[in-house]
């Protein structure tokens, strides 16, 4: 990435949405509990294809990396995740509907 040709620096700024802030919070909390390190977060990001950096947003890459690290450290299994994600998909079609607390 560093050194590649690219256009002007974009100047738009967006407010972080709640789901993005939650991804950030989950990273900070899970790493503070010793489930992975910032190096672990970065390692998975570095392993991603250049395409991922073009097609996924910033926090999409982060949640993918957080997930990979948590599975590797044995906090939950891929099966547990898959089951929960399909349950969530059935709750509704927007983030608000699918979040329950």
């Amino acid at each position: 990435m560093g050194g590649d040709a690219a256009g002007p620096i974009p100047t738009e700024q967006h407010d972080f949405s709640l789901w993005e802030k939650r991804v950030d919070a989950l990273m900070v909390i899970a790493s503070s509990r010793g489930h992975f390190t910032v190096d672990g977060l970065r390692r998975v990001l570095e392993d991603m294809s250049p395409e991922s950096f073009e097609t996924m947003t910033y926090y999409e890459r982060w949640i993918a990396s957080v997930n990979q690290n948590l599975i590797e450290s044995g906090v939950y299994t891929t099966a547990e995740l898959a089951e929960r994600m399909s349950e969530i998909a059935a709750r509704g079609t927007t983030y608000g509907e699918a979040s329950r607390e």
Partner: protein, 221 residues
Amino acid sequence: MPHDHHDHLSPSGHPYRPDDDHPLTYWQQMEIAIREILIEKGVTTAAEINAQIDTMDARSPANGATVIARAWTDPAFHAALLDDASAASASMGFDIGPLKLIAVENTQDVHNVIVCTLCSCYPRNLLGLPPDWYKSRAYRSRTVKEPRKVLAEFGVTLPDHVTVRVHDSTADMRYIVVPARPDGTDNWSADRLAKLVTRDSMIGTGLPKDPGTIAQPLPSG
């Protein structure tokens, strides 16, 4: 929309990314799933996640500005900051945790700029979350290749004799730029000086504000 937590959405008026308006995405499903599983397994709690978001929201470049202004006015702190910026900023209540923070100082001959070519590593304890442009592909790829052109886009044009040093941050090593103290501020208090220190001046893509733009304090007594 029973759970959209408007209290956590920033009121600054920037447009929301389409994520908020679009149908639930795969990655949002994943975030919800991970959050729920971590809560159920006792790794964290909903309250702790909310508190972490509040902490994040409370951090801003004003933190960094107080650190820089103190370095400009307190020689012992200036030396401590350049020696070990993690410890010096923690002593002011801005703890960076286990990460290493390095302060790089601008002088008449050297201008420092920070970037994270991979992603977005940033001195969040002092500046809050990075701006979008800092995370952009354009900034990350071009700053290490043509820093003077990038700086010019930010309105910073440096004389040819000034050396530009680009610092590429890593996961556990972050940088903060100590801008040069503007001329004409000799008797200024740290509080007043802090008003000159912008976010971009601590990234290196900007310079401190012109002292003439800061109003004189009212005479006391």
